[in-house]
Assembly symmetry: C3
Homo-oligomer: 348 residues x 3
């Protein structure tokens, strides 16, 4: 696809600086772009590359437009405009409607005429596949599962029995939605399995990363609201509830029954214990360990960065003495207090 | 299914308080139950919901029975009884004996008549599938692998060549059992692959979570004893040995050759380095990093919880000075000691 | 297979100590070996087992040869020689050339005559499968993907559209290469998907562990150079670049656009934030959190090991007071300084 800057500006509410008839046909980074490409500046890290870009045009905010050597789409949020321009210039292929001859679809399943079911995919009994859905090669859709319109299930993803996904979701390869939650009752040193009778309910516009796992609820459903984005290798335990438009980066996780609010930002490798309540608009920095509920929006952190190992080891060894160090400090404080008191007395 | 309290009490050694003829047909949470449901109180967090439950009956311990507004099953371990009652009221469907026409079973494999092999599942050469086994859609069973009676392999799980699973196990979707261990010999700045010649041996009544990985041993087998329960995204490296009835929560892992005892409880995201020996009955709290062997049963911990980020940053910065802080403390101690000694001398 | 020590010594540049005509036919550990087996001593942990081994021969360095009760292959790097001897005695089966009748290969794909495509495997449009490649059961190779000669794709691995893998790679089950990177632009409290238009380029002799995820680049490719070894459940985000012969142990990860140098050693559960640059020959110890670029080769660390929980809790509580502890220390220093100054003055 190609488009002029004027066309893109009109579609995405930008101002054009320079020749609006400039035509672009693909996106590229500032440093590698050629004249048929449009690039963007959103991360200040890359600002120095703007002056020397060979792009045909760039997407920038008003502050950077003056520094751009080429025509610009000027807007408040260059990254968001870039995302939309990239989708226009590089459209995803439309579903190839139909069921591959090598797929296996239960006769009791409902597959919309406009849905695509790939080779070796399996659709279980009474499952419901809406229009515009793509079921990738080898993916498995469980019995009575429901996949909303326009949703893409990538190859080898697994959607469990009775799981419900909304519209326009993307589930990446290897994701497992609806495995049993981890529920066992201890009894005389052994473990009795607690049947996991709930399901998973997922809203619209949710994206779920590769090899991410979302367990079914123990009695009621695990719930992922609209617009949630989960990265790869994320773990969502049974009965977790994630509010709309929350994002969780790779290797993060939430243990059973934790409720995460709306619009939260959960950094990579952040893990939360179970039974917490996290309010809306909370942000957790990379690799934090969350053990208490959060009632105030804000930024929460908790990781110690790696250092040169010999230095780290010395500090880590002192950490193991920290309570004793505190006691020594307190003793000193008393001694100095007494000295000062004595001195004061002597001064009398 | 439905049952009376009297029937359930007799089956699971409970006492009935109230009308034993009360019939229940499903389980529910205290807060959402309706009269045909039986609920339970095990976690004190939910105690306040007992008085107002609309459940037809509840499973409680003797201490809570008096507070229950409805008939009760009274027992010592309500959660364990709940687990069993739930399994009675919500029985898992029996295997649909037979091999799906869309499965691929090697002619040299042995599949018991009562086993179910789902669509697109693959059973390799000389594999052995016992009675009552369910092989889910798209799952792959390697050559010479052996699956014990009543075991369920969920869709898209992968069981490697020669892996042996006992009876009544559950392997969830995406789990990979028997990939090569991570073994390489360094040689002139490059890595020579060390053939991974062992297999994986898994006992009876083991449950393995979604996308969990258990590597085959380098020479001898990786071993998972009876009754072990592993949650999702758990990593078990080559030659690890896990004792019977140990549980490991999601995102935990054990590096190569570590031996974990029986009845250990490993919290979520706990990771262990290799070549450790962990005794029976050790417990590790959430997100601990285990770098030393453990010889005494008990509780071990090691994570720092997230805090409000500005507070965290201040403490974390001091952590990086901790060894220097200790040196300053020691200097002060000396100075104060000298002062006190001087003062004592002066007092003479 | 079997071989004499003389044959093995000649092939792998070792010296024979003892009877070079000794024939061995398999490898074993020192403690479990029988006379037809060859064992090795590389980890000093196992040195005590050398004197009592029943192996027919052992691979040792010059220092240990005198202690060996049986004939030896003597060399500088016993583990590297062991790796090669094991590969000789236990050769991997050659590919069974041909496409399984239950596979699904797009007519536009190119599959070399010597390649093996297993049951239920899927090869997409215009994909290219070189000679000696093994595509395991149920694996999915995307459209336009390219798999180099001698590479093995294990069952149920997923190779995305347009991904390129070099020669002699091994991709284990459940690995997902080429899922979309995690890219979203925030816009009015919601998230706009940023199309992930790059691919993944992987060199020769790369091994990728079970359930590991490597995302495609946002615009340009994610790159894994020759000889890299990734363990299980590793996360490689979009635009990451990993230099040749770097190893990353299980559960480690690198966030978007981070560049890792050559010959780095990344321990288990080490995670790196995005946009870092790590120089060649850097090593990160188990469970480190890497938040800054590294410019000097060396060892970097950053984890606090678990302790007996009551001890841990006391130290962790003090950690939360660490900035305040530091302030108290500084106050004391001032007080003592003043006292010393006063004393000095008084002594004048």
């Amino acid at each position: 696809m190609s488009a002029t800057l004027d066309e893109l500006a009109s579609r995405f509410s930008c101002r054009v600086s320079g020749d609006g008839a400039t035509t672009v046909s693909r996106v590229a980074t500032l440093s590698s772009a050629s004249p048929e490409a449009i690039s963007f500046l959103a991360n200040p890290l890359y600002k120095s590359q703007l002056a020397t870009t060979c792009a045909g045009a760039v997407i920038v905010d008003a502050g950077a437009a003056a520094d751009a050597p080429v025509p610009c789409l000027v807007c408040d949020n260059p990254y968001a405009v870039y995302a939309q321009v990239a989708a226009v210039l590089h459209p995803r292929p439309a579903p190839k409607a139909g069921i591959d001859a090598a797929a296996s679809v239960d006769p009791s399943a409902t597959v919309a005429a406009g849905a695509e079911v790939g080779p070796k995919a399996v659709v279980g009994a009474k499952a419901s596949i809406a229009d515009g859905v793509v079921i990738g090669a080898g993916a498995v859709i469980g019995a009575r599962a429901s996949i909303g319109a326009g949703t893409t299930i990538a190859p080898l993803a697994s959607i469990g029995d009775a799981v419900e996904l909304g519209a326009r979701c993307i589930v990446h390869s290897g994701a497992v939605i609806g495995a049993d939650g981890f529920g066992f009752a201890e009894h005389e040193g052994q473990w009795i399995k607690v049947p996991q009778l709930g399901s998973v309910t997922i809203g619209d516009d949710v994206e779920i990363g590769a090899n991410t796992t979302i367990d079914r609820g123990a009695i009621e459903d695990t719930v992922i609201e609209d617009g949630v984005k989960l990265d790869n290798l994320v773990q969502i335990a049974h009965n977790v509830h994630i509010g709309a438009h929350t994002v969780m980066a790779a290797m993060s996780g939430a243990a059973g029954s934790t409720r995460i609010g709306k619009r939260c930002k959960v950094g990579g490798a952040v893990i939360m214990v179970g039974h917490l309540t996290i309010c809306d608009d909370a942000m957790f920095t990379f690799a934090s360990i969350v053990t208490r509920s959060v009632t105030e929006p804000g930024v929460y952190g908790g990781s110690l960065p790696a250092e040169e190992a010999s230095k780290w080891r010395r500090n880590a060894a002192r950490f193991r003495q920290l309570d004793a160090i505190h006691d020594r400090l307190r003793m000193l404080e008393r001694q100095v207090d007494e000295q000062l008191a004595g001195k004061t007395k002597a001064d009398d």
